[in-house]
Amino acid sequence: MSEIVLMRNFDRADSHTLAAYRQTGGYTAWEKAQSMAPAAIIDEIKQSKLRGLGGAGFPTGTKWSFIPQGHQGPVYLVINADEGEPGTFKDRYLLERDPHALVEGMLITMRAIRGAKGFVYIRGEYVQPHRVFSDAVREAYEAGILGHGYDIVVHRGAGAYICGEETGLISSLEGKKGWPKLKPPFPAIKGAFGSPTIVNNVETISCVPPILNRGAAWFAALGSATQGGTRMYSVSGRVKRPGVYEASCAVTLRQLIYDYAGGVSASGRLKAVVPGGSSSAVLSADQIDVTMDVDGLMKVGSMIGSAGVIVMDESVSMPQALMVLTRFYAHESCGQCTPCRETTGWIHKMVSRVVHGEGRKEDLDTILDVARRASGTTICAFYDGAVGPYISYVEKFRSEFEALIPK
Protein backbone atom coordinates (compact mmCIF):
# COMPACT_ATOMS: atom_id res chain seq x y z
CA MET A 1 0.00 0.00 0.00
CA SER A 2 1.37 3.36 -0.97
CA GLU A 3 1.43 6.63 0.87
CA ILE A 4 -1.91 8.34 1.34
CA VAL A 5 -1.77 11.89 0.00
CA LEU A 6 -5.22 12.95 -1.15
CA MET A 7 -7.27 11.11 1.44
CA ARG A 8 -4.96 11.78 4.39
CA ASN A 9 -7.55 13.78 6.29
CA PHE A 10 -10.66 11.88 5.31
CA ASP A 11 -10.96 10.11 8.63
CA ARG A 12 -11.30 13.32 10.60
CA ALA A 13 -14.92 14.29 11.21
CA ASP A 14 -13.99 17.96 10.78
CA SER A 15 -11.74 17.42 7.76
CA HIS A 16 -13.80 19.87 5.70
CA THR A 17 -13.05 22.80 8.00
CA LEU A 18 -10.35 25.39 7.63
CA ALA A 19 -9.12 24.71 11.15
CA ALA A 20 -8.60 21.03 10.49
CA TYR A 21 -6.97 21.75 7.15
CA ARG A 22 -4.59 24.22 8.75
CA GLN A 23 -3.70 21.76 11.53
CA THR A 24 -2.49 19.31 8.90
CA GLY A 25 -0.32 21.82 7.09
CA GLY A 26 -2.98 23.47 4.97
CA TYR A 27 -2.21 26.60 2.97
CA THR A 28 1.53 26.32 3.53
CA ALA A 29 1.97 25.34 -0.11
CA TRP A 30 0.14 28.53 -1.08
CA GLU A 31 2.49 30.53 1.08
CA LYS A 32 5.40 28.91 -0.69
CA ALA A 33 3.85 29.44 -4.10
CA GLN A 34 3.51 33.14 -3.52
CA SER A 35 7.25 33.45 -3.49
CA MET A 36 7.60 31.46 -6.68
CA ALA A 37 7.45 32.78 -10.21
CA PRO A 38 4.50 31.43 -12.21
CA ALA A 39 6.87 29.71 -14.61
CA ALA A 40 8.59 27.99 -11.70
CA ILE A 41 5.28 26.61 -10.44
CA ILE A 42 4.44 25.27 -13.89
CA ASP A 43 7.88 23.72 -14.10
CA GLU A 44 7.43 22.02 -10.75
CA ILE A 45 4.09 20.58 -11.86
CA LYS A 46 5.61 19.37 -15.13
CA GLN A 47 8.36 17.60 -13.27
CA SER A 48 5.91 15.98 -10.89
CA LYS A 49 4.45 14.08 -13.87
CA LEU A 50 0.98 14.99 -12.69
CA ARG A 51 -1.57 14.12 -15.34
CA GLY A 52 -5.22 15.07 -15.57
CA LEU A 53 -7.28 12.78 -13.38
CA GLY A 54 -10.66 13.61 -14.86
CA GLY A 55 -10.39 11.38 -17.88
CA ALA A 56 -8.09 12.54 -20.61
CA GLY A 57 -4.85 12.12 -18.68
CA PHE A 58 -3.15 15.11 -20.25
CA PRO A 59 0.07 16.31 -18.51
CA THR A 60 -1.11 19.10 -16.24
CA GLY A 61 1.93 21.37 -16.28
CA THR A 62 2.04 21.22 -20.07
CA LYS A 63 -1.62 22.20 -20.21
CA TRP A 64 -0.97 25.22 -18.02
CA SER A 65 1.88 26.30 -20.24
CA PHE A 66 -0.52 26.67 -23.18
CA ILE A 67 -1.83 29.96 -21.80
CA PRO A 68 -0.40 32.54 -24.21
CA GLN A 69 2.55 34.38 -22.71
CA GLY A 70 1.94 38.07 -22.22
CA HIS A 71 -1.81 37.75 -22.67
CA GLN A 72 -3.58 40.94 -21.68
CA GLY A 73 -6.96 40.52 -20.05
CA PRO A 74 -8.47 37.85 -17.87
CA VAL A 75 -7.39 34.23 -17.66
CA TYR A 76 -9.73 31.78 -15.98
CA LEU A 77 -9.29 28.59 -14.06
CA VAL A 78 -12.30 26.32 -14.23
CA ILE A 79 -12.56 23.31 -12.00
CA ASN A 80 -14.44 20.39 -13.45
CA ALA A 81 -16.46 19.05 -10.55
CA ASP A 82 -19.13 17.75 -12.87
CA GLU A 83 -18.35 14.22 -11.83
CA GLY A 84 -20.58 11.98 -13.89
CA GLU A 85 -18.61 9.17 -15.45
CA PRO A 86 -20.46 6.01 -14.44
CA GLY A 87 -18.42 4.17 -11.87
CA THR A 88 -16.63 7.26 -10.55
CA PHE A 89 -17.17 8.92 -7.18
CA LYS A 90 -13.86 10.32 -6.02
CA ASP A 91 -14.49 14.04 -6.52
CA ARG A 92 -17.56 13.80 -4.32
CA TYR A 93 -15.28 12.70 -1.49
CA LEU A 94 -12.76 15.45 -2.14
CA LEU A 95 -15.43 18.16 -2.20
CA GLU A 96 -17.05 16.92 0.97
CA ARG A 97 -14.02 15.86 2.96
CA ASP A 98 -11.16 18.07 1.86
CA PRO A 99 -12.58 21.15 0.14
CA HIS A 100 -9.70 23.38 1.24
CA ALA A 101 -7.22 21.23 -0.64
CA LEU A 102 -9.06 22.23 -3.79
CA VAL A 103 -9.19 25.89 -2.75
CA GLU A 104 -5.48 25.90 -2.06
CA GLY A 105 -4.70 24.04 -5.26
CA MET A 106 -6.78 26.59 -7.17
CA LEU A 107 -4.90 29.50 -5.62
CA ILE A 108 -1.57 28.02 -6.66
CA THR A 109 -2.86 27.20 -10.13
CA MET A 110 -4.30 30.68 -10.63
CA ARG A 111 -0.94 32.15 -9.75
CA ALA A 112 0.77 29.80 -12.18
CA ILE A 113 -1.50 30.69 -15.08
CA ARG A 114 -1.77 34.36 -14.11
CA GLY A 115 -5.48 34.10 -13.52
CA ALA A 116 -7.42 35.96 -10.88
CA LYS A 117 -10.71 34.14 -11.05
CA GLY A 118 -11.61 30.51 -10.67
CA PHE A 119 -14.93 28.84 -11.27
CA VAL A 120 -15.85 25.53 -9.71
CA TYR A 121 -18.48 23.75 -11.76
CA ILE A 122 -20.21 21.26 -9.48
CA ARG A 123 -22.77 18.89 -10.96
CA GLY A 124 -26.29 19.93 -10.04
CA GLU A 125 -27.16 16.70 -8.25
CA TYR A 126 -24.23 17.18 -5.84
CA VAL A 127 -26.23 19.31 -3.44
CA GLN A 128 -24.31 18.29 -0.33
CA PRO A 129 -20.85 18.56 -1.91
CA HIS A 130 -21.89 21.97 -3.23
CA ARG A 131 -22.88 23.09 0.28
CA VAL A 132 -19.72 21.86 1.90
CA PHE A 133 -17.45 23.32 -0.74
CA SER A 134 -19.31 26.65 -0.75
CA ASP A 135 -18.87 26.81 3.02
CA ALA A 136 -15.16 26.21 2.62
CA VAL A 137 -14.92 29.01 0.07
CA ARG A 138 -16.79 31.31 2.47
CA GLU A 139 -14.37 30.36 5.25
CA ALA A 140 -11.43 31.10 2.98
CA TYR A 141 -12.85 34.52 2.14
CA GLU A 142 -13.51 35.26 5.82
CA ALA A 143 -9.97 34.23 6.71
CA GLY A 144 -8.61 36.56 4.04
CA ILE A 145 -7.17 33.70 2.02
CA LEU A 146 -9.42 34.49 -0.91
CA GLY A 147 -10.39 37.96 -2.00
CA HIS A 148 -6.95 39.51 -2.27
CA GLY A 149 -6.62 39.31 -6.00
CA TYR A 150 -7.97 35.80 -6.18
CA ASP A 151 -11.63 34.90 -6.38
CA ILE A 152 -13.55 31.67 -6.58
CA VAL A 153 -17.11 31.39 -7.90
CA VAL A 154 -19.00 28.20 -7.13
CA HIS A 155 -21.31 27.22 -9.97
CA ARG A 156 -23.97 24.52 -10.13
CA GLY A 157 -24.80 22.38 -13.15
CA ALA A 158 -28.27 21.13 -13.85
CA GLY A 159 -27.99 17.56 -15.01
CA ALA A 160 -26.09 16.73 -18.18
CA TYR A 161 -23.19 14.29 -18.44
CA ILE A 162 -21.76 16.14 -21.42
CA CYS A 163 -20.88 19.08 -19.19
CA GLY A 164 -18.02 16.95 -17.89
CA GLU A 165 -16.41 17.46 -21.31
CA GLU A 166 -14.25 20.55 -20.85
CA THR A 167 -15.76 22.68 -23.59
CA GLY A 168 -19.29 21.46 -22.87
CA LEU A 169 -18.60 22.56 -19.32
CA ILE A 170 -17.49 25.95 -20.54
CA SER A 171 -20.67 26.38 -22.60
CA SER A 172 -22.71 25.45 -19.57
CA LEU A 173 -20.74 27.82 -17.34
CA GLU A 174 -21.58 30.53 -19.85
CA GLY A 175 -25.28 29.86 -19.29
CA LYS A 176 -25.91 27.82 -22.41
CA LYS A 177 -26.69 24.28 -23.34
CA GLY A 178 -23.69 22.11 -22.64
CA TRP A 179 -22.70 21.84 -26.27
CA PRO A 180 -18.97 21.22 -26.64
CA LYS A 181 -17.13 23.80 -28.68
CA LEU A 182 -15.19 23.45 -31.88
CA LYS A 183 -11.45 23.16 -31.48
CA PRO A 184 -9.51 25.12 -32.53
CA PRO A 185 -9.60 27.47 -30.74
CA PHE A 186 -8.59 25.47 -27.69
CA PRO A 187 -9.71 26.68 -24.26
CA ALA A 188 -6.20 27.79 -23.33
CA ILE A 189 -6.43 30.29 -26.18
CA LYS A 190 -10.15 31.09 -26.15
CA GLY A 191 -12.12 29.42 -23.40
CA ALA A 192 -14.70 30.55 -20.89
CA PHE A 193 -16.29 33.87 -21.82
CA GLY A 194 -13.82 34.12 -24.70
CA SER A 195 -10.74 34.30 -22.47
CA PRO A 196 -7.85 31.87 -22.08
CA THR A 197 -9.01 29.16 -19.72
CA ILE A 198 -7.57 26.13 -18.00
CA VAL A 199 -10.04 23.41 -17.12
CA ASN A 200 -8.83 20.87 -14.56
CA ASN A 201 -10.45 18.14 -12.56
CA VAL A 202 -11.00 18.44 -8.78
CA GLU A 203 -8.60 15.64 -7.96
CA THR A 204 -5.90 16.97 -10.28
CA ILE A 205 -5.88 20.36 -8.58
CA SER A 206 -6.10 18.76 -5.13
CA CYS A 207 -2.73 17.17 -5.91
CA VAL A 208 -1.08 20.55 -6.42
CA PRO A 209 -0.53 21.62 -2.76
CA PRO A 210 1.26 18.40 -1.76
CA ILE A 211 3.45 18.66 -4.86
CA LEU A 212 4.56 22.15 -3.88
CA ASN A 213 5.05 21.17 -0.28
CA ARG A 214 7.01 18.02 -0.82
CA GLY A 215 8.51 18.48 -4.23
CA ALA A 216 8.00 17.21 -7.72
CA ALA A 217 10.47 14.40 -7.32
CA TRP A 218 8.65 12.97 -4.33
CA PHE A 219 5.32 13.07 -6.19
CA ALA A 220 6.73 11.60 -9.38
CA ALA A 221 8.22 8.74 -7.43
CA LEU A 222 4.83 7.81 -6.00
CA GLY A 223 3.55 6.80 -9.41
CA SER A 224 4.57 5.04 -12.59
CA ALA A 225 7.28 5.97 -15.06
CA THR A 226 5.05 8.33 -17.01
CA GLN A 227 2.49 9.37 -14.43
CA GLY A 228 3.38 10.71 -11.04
CA GLY A 229 1.53 10.44 -7.79
CA THR A 230 -1.21 8.42 -6.26
CA ARG A 231 -4.79 8.72 -7.35
CA MET A 232 -8.19 7.80 -6.05
CA TYR A 233 -9.66 4.69 -7.62
CA SER A 234 -13.41 4.28 -7.39
CA VAL A 235 -14.23 0.60 -7.21
CA SER A 236 -17.81 -0.64 -7.49
CA GLY A 237 -19.87 -3.45 -8.91
CA ARG A 238 -19.43 -7.03 -7.85
CA VAL A 239 -16.69 -6.61 -5.27
CA LYS A 240 -16.77 -7.36 -1.59
CA ARG A 241 -15.68 -3.90 -0.43
CA PRO A 242 -16.76 -1.24 -2.93
CA GLY A 243 -15.29 2.17 -2.20
CA VAL A 244 -12.75 4.78 -3.11
CA TYR A 245 -9.12 3.73 -2.66
CA GLU A 246 -6.03 5.84 -2.97
CA ALA A 247 -3.14 3.99 -4.53
CA SER A 248 -0.09 4.61 -6.63
CA CYS A 249 -0.67 5.16 -10.32
CA ALA A 250 1.45 2.05 -10.71
CA VAL A 251 -1.04 -0.18 -8.90
CA THR A 252 -2.43 -3.05 -10.95
CA LEU A 253 -6.07 -3.73 -11.60
CA ARG A 254 -5.69 -7.11 -9.95
CA GLN A 255 -4.40 -5.46 -6.78
CA LEU A 256 -7.29 -3.04 -6.74
CA ILE A 257 -9.90 -5.75 -7.10
CA TYR A 258 -8.40 -8.31 -4.76
CA ASP A 259 -6.17 -6.42 -2.31
CA TYR A 260 -8.12 -3.20 -1.93
CA ALA A 261 -11.73 -4.13 -2.68
CA GLY A 262 -11.64 -7.55 -1.11
CA GLY A 263 -12.16 -9.62 -4.24
CA VAL A 264 -15.10 -10.56 -6.42
CA SER A 265 -18.52 -10.96 -4.85
CA ALA A 266 -21.63 -12.83 -6.01
CA SER A 267 -20.37 -15.88 -7.96
CA GLY A 268 -16.84 -14.94 -6.92
CA ARG A 269 -15.61 -15.58 -10.45
CA LEU A 270 -14.43 -12.53 -12.38
CA LYS A 271 -15.85 -12.05 -15.85
CA ALA A 272 -15.12 -8.50 -16.90
CA VAL A 273 -13.91 -5.17 -15.55
CA VAL A 274 -14.54 -1.62 -16.62
CA PRO A 275 -11.20 -0.02 -15.69
CA GLY A 276 -11.70 3.70 -16.07
CA GLY A 277 -15.34 4.65 -16.03
CA SER A 278 -18.01 3.38 -18.38
CA SER A 279 -16.40 5.00 -21.42
CA SER A 280 -13.30 2.85 -21.21
CA ALA A 281 -13.27 -0.41 -23.14
CA VAL A 282 -14.23 -3.31 -20.91
CA LEU A 283 -11.48 -5.78 -20.01
CA SER A 284 -11.92 -9.50 -19.81
CA ALA A 285 -10.90 -11.42 -16.69
CA ASP A 286 -7.52 -12.28 -18.16
CA GLN A 287 -6.56 -8.63 -18.73
CA ILE A 288 -6.33 -7.41 -15.15
CA ASP A 289 -2.58 -7.55 -14.74
CA VAL A 290 -2.17 -4.03 -16.02
CA THR A 291 -0.92 -0.95 -14.24
CA MET A 292 -3.71 1.54 -13.63
CA ASP A 293 -2.04 4.51 -15.27
CA VAL A 294 -2.50 6.21 -18.63
CA ASP A 295 0.05 4.07 -20.44
CA GLY A 296 -0.82 0.77 -18.80
CA LEU A 297 -4.39 0.80 -20.01
CA MET A 298 -3.53 2.18 -23.40
CA LYS A 299 -1.43 -0.94 -23.92
CA VAL A 300 -4.50 -3.17 -23.55
CA GLY A 301 -6.68 -1.01 -25.77
CA SER A 302 -8.60 0.67 -23.01
CA MET A 303 -8.08 3.82 -20.98
CA ILE A 304 -7.62 4.87 -17.39
CA GLY A 305 -10.17 7.65 -17.82
CA SER A 306 -11.51 8.67 -14.44
CA ALA A 307 -10.24 5.49 -12.76
CA GLY A 308 -13.73 4.25 -12.06
CA VAL A 309 -13.49 0.48 -11.78
CA ILE A 310 -16.68 -1.54 -12.24
CA VAL A 311 -16.31 -5.23 -11.60
CA MET A 312 -18.57 -7.83 -13.19
CA ASP A 313 -18.66 -11.45 -12.15
CA GLU A 314 -19.64 -14.52 -14.15
CA SER A 315 -23.33 -14.11 -13.38
CA VAL A 316 -23.59 -10.76 -15.16
CA SER A 317 -25.22 -10.68 -18.58
CA MET A 318 -22.90 -8.64 -20.77
CA PRO A 319 -25.62 -7.79 -23.31
CA GLN A 320 -27.74 -6.42 -20.49
CA ALA A 321 -24.80 -4.50 -19.08
CA LEU A 322 -24.15 -3.01 -22.53
CA MET A 323 -27.82 -2.09 -22.88
CA VAL A 324 -27.59 -0.09 -19.65
CA LEU A 325 -24.68 1.82 -21.16
CA THR A 326 -26.17 2.29 -24.64
CA ARG A 327 -29.22 3.79 -22.95
CA PHE A 328 -26.91 6.10 -21.02
CA TYR A 329 -25.03 7.33 -24.09
CA ALA A 330 -28.22 7.80 -26.10
CA HIS A 331 -29.69 9.79 -23.21
CA GLU A 332 -26.61 11.93 -22.70
CA SER A 333 -25.62 12.71 -26.29
CA CYS A 334 -25.94 16.45 -26.52
CA GLY A 335 -27.30 16.22 -30.05
CA GLN A 336 -24.87 18.60 -31.64
CA CYS A 337 -22.93 16.36 -34.05
CA THR A 338 -24.89 14.20 -36.43
CA PRO A 339 -22.92 10.95 -36.07
CA CYS A 340 -23.25 10.90 -32.29
CA ARG A 341 -26.80 12.20 -32.14
CA GLU A 342 -28.10 9.69 -34.65
CA THR A 343 -26.10 6.57 -33.88
CA THR A 344 -26.21 6.55 -30.06
CA GLY A 345 -29.98 6.14 -30.33
CA TRP A 346 -29.76 3.70 -33.21
CA ILE A 347 -27.20 1.49 -31.46
CA HIS A 348 -29.30 1.49 -28.31
CA LYS A 349 -32.28 0.32 -30.33
CA MET A 350 -30.25 -2.49 -31.85
CA VAL A 351 -28.74 -3.62 -28.54
CA SER A 352 -32.15 -3.49 -26.85
CA ARG A 353 -33.61 -5.60 -29.60
CA VAL A 354 -30.88 -8.18 -29.16
CA VAL A 355 -31.37 -8.28 -25.39
CA HIS A 356 -35.11 -8.70 -25.84
CA GLY A 357 -34.66 -11.66 -28.18
CA GLU A 358 -35.55 -9.76 -31.30
CA GLY A 359 -32.07 -9.43 -32.70
CA ARG A 360 -31.11 -10.21 -36.25
CA LYS A 361 -27.91 -11.94 -37.20
CA GLU A 362 -26.56 -8.85 -38.96
CA ASP A 363 -27.17 -6.61 -35.92
CA LEU A 364 -23.87 -7.28 -34.20
CA ASP A 365 -21.84 -6.49 -37.29
CA THR A 366 -23.95 -3.40 -37.91
CA ILE A 367 -23.31 -2.19 -34.36
CA LEU A 368 -19.57 -2.68 -34.77
CA ASP A 369 -19.49 -1.09 -38.20
CA VAL A 370 -21.58 1.93 -37.25
CA ALA A 371 -19.55 2.48 -34.08
CA ARG A 372 -16.27 2.28 -35.97
CA ARG A 373 -17.43 4.53 -38.77
CA ALA A 374 -18.80 7.21 -36.47
CA SER A 375 -15.85 7.20 -34.11
CA GLY A 376 -13.43 10.05 -34.57
CA THR A 377 -15.94 12.11 -36.53
CA THR A 378 -17.36 14.31 -33.79
CA ILE A 379 -16.49 17.56 -32.06
CA CYS A 380 -15.79 16.05 -28.65
CA ALA A 381 -14.64 12.79 -27.10
CA PHE A 382 -18.09 11.76 -25.87
CA TYR A 383 -18.78 9.54 -28.84
CA ASP A 384 -15.38 7.90 -28.79
CA GLY A 385 -16.11 7.20 -25.14
CA ALA A 386 -19.34 5.48 -26.13
CA VAL A 387 -17.53 3.48 -28.78
CA GLY A 388 -15.29 2.01 -26.04
CA PRO A 389 -18.10 -0.09 -24.60
CA TYR A 390 -19.99 -0.56 -27.90
CA ILE A 391 -17.10 -2.36 -29.53
CA SER A 392 -15.45 -4.04 -26.55
CA TYR A 393 -18.60 -5.65 -25.14
CA VAL A 394 -19.70 -7.01 -28.50
CA GLU A 395 -16.24 -8.16 -29.56
CA LYS A 396 -15.12 -9.70 -26.28
CA PHE A 397 -18.43 -11.28 -25.36
CA ARG A 398 -19.88 -11.88 -28.80
CA SER A 399 -21.09 -15.41 -28.08
CA GLU A 400 -23.29 -14.06 -25.28
CA PHE A 401 -24.95 -11.69 -27.71
CA GLU A 402 -25.26 -14.32 -30.41
CA ALA A 403 -26.94 -16.68 -27.98
CA LEU A 404 -29.77 -14.15 -27.61
CA ILE A 405 -30.39 -13.81 -31.34
CA PRO A 406 -33.08 -16.17 -32.67
CA LYS A 407 -31.64 -18.62 -35.17
Binding site: P74, E83, G84, E85, P86, G87, T88, F89, D91, R92, R123, G124, E125, Y126, V127, Q128, V153, H155, R156, G157, A158, G159, A160, Y161, S172, L173, E174, G175, K176, K177, G178, A192, F193, S195, S234, V235, S236, G237, R238, P242, G243, V244, V274, S278, G308, I310, M312, V316, Q320, A321, V324, L325, R327, F328, H331, E332, C334
Partner: protein, 170 residues
Protein backbone atom coordinates in the same frame (compact mmCIF):
# COMPACT_ATOMS: atom_id res chain seq x y z
CA UNK B 1 -23.80 45.30 -42.54
CA UNK B 2 -24.33 45.04 -38.85
CA UNK B 3 -28.05 45.03 -38.38
CA UNK B 4 -29.76 45.70 -35.14
CA UNK B 5 -33.28 44.77 -35.87
CA UNK B 6 -34.54 45.11 -32.38
CA UNK B 7 -33.96 43.64 -28.97
CA UNK B 8 -35.11 40.11 -28.17
CA UNK B 9 -38.81 40.06 -27.57
CA UNK B 10 -39.60 40.90 -24.00
CA UNK B 11 -41.68 38.54 -21.94
CA UNK B 12 -45.37 39.13 -21.74
CA UNK B 13 -46.77 40.53 -18.50
CA UNK B 14 -46.67 37.71 -16.08
CA UNK B 15 -47.79 36.55 -12.71
CA UNK B 16 -44.41 34.90 -12.18
CA UNK B 17 -41.99 37.20 -10.42
CA UNK B 18 -39.17 37.03 -7.88
CA UNK B 19 -39.30 39.09 -4.72
CA UNK B 20 -37.14 42.24 -4.65
CA UNK B 21 -34.62 40.32 -2.49
CA UNK B 22 -34.49 37.55 -5.05
CA UNK B 23 -34.05 40.00 -7.89
CA UNK B 24 -31.14 41.48 -5.94
CA UNK B 25 -29.71 37.97 -5.62
CA UNK B 26 -30.11 37.49 -9.38
CA UNK B 27 -28.15 40.67 -9.98
CA UNK B 28 -25.47 39.57 -7.51
CA UNK B 29 -25.13 36.18 -9.23
CA UNK B 30 -24.97 37.86 -12.63
CA UNK B 31 -22.18 40.11 -11.40
CA UNK B 32 -20.04 37.06 -10.57
CA UNK B 33 -19.62 36.18 -14.23
CA UNK B 34 -17.79 38.09 -16.96
CA UNK B 35 -21.04 37.76 -18.92
CA UNK B 36 -24.18 37.90 -16.77
CA UNK B 37 -25.59 35.00 -18.75
CA UNK B 38 -23.25 32.75 -16.79
CA UNK B 39 -25.72 32.93 -13.91
CA UNK B 40 -28.57 31.49 -15.99
CA UNK B 41 -28.36 27.94 -14.64
CA UNK B 42 -28.18 29.19 -11.06
CA UNK B 43 -31.13 31.51 -11.54
CA UNK B 44 -33.17 28.73 -13.13
CA UNK B 45 -32.46 26.63 -10.03
CA UNK B 46 -33.71 29.55 -7.95
CA UNK B 47 -36.80 29.84 -10.11
CA UNK B 48 -37.56 26.16 -9.76
CA UNK B 49 -37.11 26.31 -6.00
CA UNK B 50 -39.41 29.33 -5.87
CA UNK B 51 -42.15 28.39 -8.32
CA UNK B 52 -42.00 24.60 -8.04
CA UNK B 53 -41.16 24.01 -11.65
CA UNK B 54 -40.15 26.02 -14.71
CA UNK B 55 -43.21 26.95 -16.70
CA UNK B 56 -43.03 28.73 -20.04
CA UNK B 57 -44.09 31.82 -18.17
CA UNK B 58 -41.13 31.42 -15.86
CA UNK B 59 -38.81 30.94 -18.81
CA UNK B 60 -40.07 34.16 -20.36
CA UNK B 61 -39.67 35.95 -17.04
CA UNK B 62 -36.11 34.71 -16.58
CA UNK B 63 -35.35 35.58 -20.22
CA UNK B 64 -36.35 39.13 -19.36
CA UNK B 65 -34.00 39.19 -16.39
CA UNK B 66 -31.15 38.20 -18.70
CA UNK B 67 -32.22 40.17 -21.76
CA UNK B 68 -32.25 36.90 -23.68
CA UNK B 69 -34.68 35.61 -26.28
CA UNK B 70 -37.09 33.22 -24.54
CA UNK B 71 -36.16 30.52 -27.06
CA UNK B 72 -32.60 30.55 -25.72
CA UNK B 73 -33.81 30.01 -22.18
CA UNK B 74 -36.09 27.24 -23.44
CA UNK B 75 -33.06 25.59 -25.03
CA UNK B 76 -31.34 25.52 -21.67
CA UNK B 77 -34.36 24.34 -19.69
CA UNK B 78 -35.00 21.47 -22.11
CA UNK B 79 -31.35 20.44 -22.21
CA UNK B 80 -30.77 19.75 -18.52
CA UNK B 81 -32.51 16.96 -16.66
CA UNK B 82 -32.92 18.77 -13.35
CA UNK B 83 -35.31 21.39 -14.65
CA UNK B 84 -38.94 20.32 -14.49
CA UNK B 85 -41.13 21.72 -17.21
CA UNK B 86 -44.26 20.41 -15.55
CA UNK B 87 -45.33 20.50 -11.91
CA UNK B 88 -43.50 17.82 -9.93
CA UNK B 89 -44.35 16.06 -6.74
CA UNK B 90 -43.44 17.53 -3.36
CA UNK B 91 -40.62 15.01 -3.37
CA UNK B 92 -38.61 13.67 -6.23
CA UNK B 93 -37.09 10.20 -6.11
CA UNK B 94 -34.36 9.59 -8.64
CA UNK B 95 -33.25 5.99 -8.59
CA UNK B 96 -30.01 5.38 -10.39
CA UNK B 97 -30.22 2.79 -13.16
CA UNK B 98 -26.69 2.98 -14.46
CA UNK B 99 -24.20 0.13 -14.49
CA UNK B 100 -23.04 -0.20 -10.89
CA UNK B 101 -26.54 0.22 -9.52
CA UNK B 102 -27.84 -2.13 -12.19
CA UNK B 103 -25.32 -4.72 -11.03
CA UNK B 104 -26.53 -4.16 -7.47
CA UNK B 105 -30.17 -4.75 -8.32
CA UNK B 106 -31.48 -1.31 -9.31
CA UNK B 107 -34.14 -2.79 -11.64
CA UNK B 108 -35.81 -4.55 -8.73
CA UNK B 109 -35.58 -1.41 -6.56
CA UNK B 110 -37.24 0.60 -9.33
CA UNK B 111 -39.91 -2.06 -9.76
CA UNK B 112 -40.49 -2.07 -6.03
CA UNK B 113 -40.87 1.71 -5.88
CA UNK B 114 -43.27 1.65 -8.82
CA UNK B 115 -45.37 -0.96 -7.13
CA UNK B 116 -45.39 0.79 -3.76
CA UNK B 117 -46.26 4.15 -5.30
CA UNK B 118 -48.60 2.78 -7.93
CA UNK B 119 -47.00 4.84 -10.64
CA UNK B 120 -44.55 4.35 -13.46
CA UNK B 121 -41.18 5.98 -13.75
CA UNK B 122 -41.68 9.54 -14.92
CA UNK B 123 -45.01 9.89 -13.15
CA UNK B 124 -46.23 11.66 -10.04
CA UNK B 125 -48.52 10.13 -7.45
CA UNK B 126 -52.10 11.39 -7.80
CA UNK B 127 -51.83 13.14 -4.42
CA UNK B 128 -48.86 15.11 -5.74
CA UNK B 129 -46.57 13.74 -3.08
CA UNK B 130 -43.91 11.93 -5.05
CA UNK B 131 -42.43 12.02 -8.54
CA UNK B 132 -40.53 8.89 -9.45
CA UNK B 133 -37.62 8.94 -11.85
CA UNK B 134 -34.94 6.57 -12.90
CA UNK B 135 -31.76 8.48 -13.54
CA UNK B 136 -28.25 8.13 -14.89
CA UNK B 137 -25.20 7.69 -12.68
CA UNK B 138 -25.20 9.92 -9.58
CA UNK B 139 -21.65 8.90 -8.78
CA UNK B 140 -22.17 7.14 -5.53
CA UNK B 141 -21.58 3.68 -7.00
CA UNK B 142 -19.86 2.41 -3.85
CA UNK B 143 -23.28 2.49 -2.23
CA UNK B 144 -25.23 0.92 -5.07
CA UNK B 145 -28.10 0.71 -5.47
CA UNK B 146 -28.73 4.28 -4.53
CA UNK B 147 -31.06 7.14 -5.23
CA UNK B 148 -31.49 10.82 -4.76
CA UNK B 149 -34.40 11.96 -2.61
CA UNK B 150 -34.78 15.67 -3.19
CA UNK B 151 -31.48 17.16 -2.04
CA UNK B 152 -29.95 14.11 -0.43
CA UNK B 153 -28.47 10.81 -1.48
CA UNK B 154 -29.79 7.58 -0.01
CA UNK B 155 -27.40 4.66 -0.14
CA UNK B 156 -27.40 0.87 -0.17
CA UNK B 157 -31.06 0.55 -0.99
CA UNK B 158 -33.14 -2.50 -0.23
CA UNK B 159 -36.90 -2.81 -0.69
CA UNK B 160 -37.27 -2.41 3.10
CA UNK B 161 -35.11 0.68 3.16
CA UNK B 162 -37.12 2.17 0.29
CA UNK B 163 -40.33 1.48 2.21
CA UNK B 164 -38.94 3.21 5.27
CA UNK B 165 -37.82 6.22 3.29
CA UNK B 166 -41.18 6.49 1.58
CA UNK B 167 -42.98 6.36 4.89
CA UNK B 168 -40.82 9.14 6.28
CA UNK B 169 -41.61 11.53 3.45
CA UNK B 170 -44.34 14.02 4.33
Amino acid sequence: MTPTLGAPSSPSPTAVAFSPEQVAEVRRLQSLYPDPRGALLMVLHMAQDTFGYISLETEAYVAGLFNLAPAHVHEVVTFYTMYFQKPKGRHVLGICHNLSCFLAGAPSIIAHAQERLGIDVGETTPDGRITLQSVECLCACEHAPMMQVDDRYEFDLTPDKVDGLLRALP
